[in-house]
């Protein structure tokens, strides 16, 4: 069985796919804008909520935490939680919205032979735009808390981090979009998984806790550990990255891409019947 547009047949598959993808790039940008507009429409503060929400959450957590552990500084811990929350949000919004990436685009998918990657990339780009808005607040808060100690050359790594984040999240979104379309229960399971991941990741959990020998397994099996380290090192501490975090991150990225490509090739366009 085959479907071939004869005029495209002379191009290899990868080039054909790239050409199709490029021809629909306007749609991708438009969907990103549309998702952002829908999210903040009729709100007074608009996209400022991208910063305010995690900041307020961090202050609440830090206040409670400081009350429990008297010696902790509220502000330093708030900055720690804030950076962790913003990076975790980047991951969790991608996972949650990724599950609906294809289903919410069913109108488009049933209209024309549009590459699915357009709709999957849309989720990642939307999360990254939100992240960039939150980043302004993060840099401001961390500069105040650290008295400017974090404002150094290591901040040049932030754009690189965003590239790595895109490489990390896109395969997750691809996998979640396929699994989410095929199995509707996954939405609830992933929500539980995400909460568990939040608790065992150094979002509000102090980083040194995971270095205890009996908890090191959580560090090895959790991709968010290097992910959060790569964000906090330059943004909160003004440090360059450690090699072990970079290597761990790229191992996770390679594994996730292999899984995403396998999942995409396994279901192909047949997934259109499930959405």
């Amino acid at each position: 069985m085959s479907y071939v547009n004869v005029q495209d047949r002379r191009l290899p598959f990868a080039l054909r796919y790239a050409a199709d993808f490029l021809s629909y790039r306007h749609l991708c940008w438009n969907l990103v804008g549309s998702a952002l507009r829908a999210r903040f429409r009729r709100t007074q503060l608009g996209i400022l909520w991208a910063t305010l929400q995690p900041l307020a959450f961090s202050l609440m957590i830090a206040t409670v935490w400081a009350g429990l552990r008297n010696k902790e500084s509220v502000w330093e811990f708030a900055a720690y939680v804030f950076t962790g929350t913003v990076a975790f949000e980047l991951f969790s919004t991608s996972v949650q919205n990724g599950q609906d990436a294809l289903m919410s685009a069913s109108g488009f998918i049933r209209q024309a032979r549009i590459p699915f990657l357009i709709f999957q990339l849309r989720v990642v780009l939307t999360s990254l735009v939100m992240f960039m808005c939150a980043l302004v607040g993060v840099l401001l808060v961390t500069a105040i808390v650290t008295h400017g100690a974090n404002l150094g050359p290591a901040l040049m790594l932030v754009p690189v981090f965003m590239g790595i984040a895109a490489l990390f999240m896109l395969p997750i979104v691809i996998i979640m979009s396929i699994v989410g379309a095929l199995y509707r229960d996954v939405k609830y399971i992933s929500m539980l998984g995400e909460r568990a991941l939040f608790l065992v990741s150094p979002v509000m959990l102090p980083r040194d806790v995971l270095e205890q020998p009996h908890l090191q397994i959580l560090e090895v099996l959790n991709p968010l550990v290097p992910f959060l380290d790569l964000f906090r090192d330059p943004v909160l501490y003004g440090n360059f990255w450690e090699a072990r975090d970079v290597i761990a991150m790229f191992v996770w990225i390679a594994a996730l891409w292999a899984l995403a490509i396998f999942a995409s090739m396994s279901v192909g366009r047949k997934i259109v019947f499930a959405i």
């Binding site: 069985m1 085959s2 479907y3 071939v4 547009n5 004869v6 005029q7 495209d8 002379r10 191009l11 050409a19 199709d20 021809s23 629909y24 306007h26 749609l27 940008w29 438009n30 549309s34 507009r37 829908a38 429409r41 109108g107 488009f108 998918i109 049933r110 209209q111 024309a112 032979r113 549009i114 379309a181 095929l182 199995y183 509707r184 229960d185 996954v186 399971i189 192909g268 366009r269 047949k270 259109v272 019947f273 499930a274």
Partner: protein
């Protein structure tokens, strides 16, 4: 320039070839599968009673459409018209058989795709246009023409959530038909709108049909078919019952339908 197939220069004559095309549409739980079965399947478990449920939407369709032909797909509901159209567009994968299309495809399958209810009609020209793969620059060039054609007056700057169904269709139709593809696949787009607009829509469709190398329309409207198309393909339960000039197939189809 419309999406999809823009990289290729001018070449072979436009054509659609459908050969032994079988399309099975999975329905119910099997379309999605069960999470339990998927997990158990990893350990070699197989369901004792397979729950596969398919609708044989297309059963061995053979069809050739050449450059310049204006083809109507007719048949009662569930006959496979829209499914065949979507298979030609490459939207639905085939269970077996082949479809070869030579030409840049444009589809008019669902008018409202890409619309944002909270945005104005004018903004939606861009949103819908970009959903069809057109650039903002190209759409800006055609904005005035689209606004004039849909004839919404000042309503064009109001949110589309305030539009009536007819206004909605007028705007969607105006945007969707602004650019002429080489192969145009259309699914029942004349279902709404007032009589005056319907006539203008038909006029525009005729212009597009003349510009397009191949035109395929899935519809129940035999009057429209007689007006716009030169060939009719009558589908029933995924088979082709008749294929020939409109003057031959439509009377037969109408007689059968009225005799049902």
């Amino acid at each position: 320039m419309p999406a999809g197939h823009a990289l290729v220069g001018r070449r072979a004559p436009l054509a659609i070839q459908v050969k032994d095309c079988v399309l099975k549409y999975p329905i119910g739980a099997h379309a999605r599968g069960s999470l339990k079965s998927a997990v158990m399947g990893l350990f070699g478990h197989r369901e004792r009673t397979p729950t596969a449920q398919y609708v044989d939407a297309l059963r061995g369709i053979n069809l050739q459409i050449q450059q310049g032909e204006r083809v109507a797909l007719i048949g009662h509901n569930g006959s496979g018209k829209s499914t065949l159209l979507r298979a030609m567009a490459g939207v639905y994968p085939l269970a077996s058989g082949d479809i070869h299309v030579s030409g840049r495809i444009g589809t008019l399958l669902e008018l409202g795709v890409g619309f944002e209810d909270e945005a104005t009609g004018r903004e939606n020209i861009y949103y819908r246009g970009m959903a069809m793969g057109y650039s903002r620059k190209l759409l800006a060039k055609h904005e005035r023409e689209i606004v004039e054609f849909c004839g919404l007056g000042d309503f064009i700057d109001l949110p589309v959530r305030t539009y009536s169904a007819g206004m909605y269709v007028r705007l969607a139709f105006a945007i969707s038909t602004q650019f002429s593809p080489e192969v145009l696949l259309v699914d029942e787009v004349f279902g709404a709108g007032d009589a005056v607009f319907a006539e203008r829509a038909v006029q525009r469709m005729m212009r597009i049909v003349n510009d397009a190398g191949i035109f395929v329309l899935a519809t129940h409207d035999v009057n429209l078919v007689s007006r716009v198309c030169s060939r009719a393909v009558w589908l029933s339960s995924g088979h082709i019952l008749a294929d020939g000039p409109v003057e031959t197939v439509i009377p037969e189809f109408t007689a059968r339908m009225s005799g049902r």
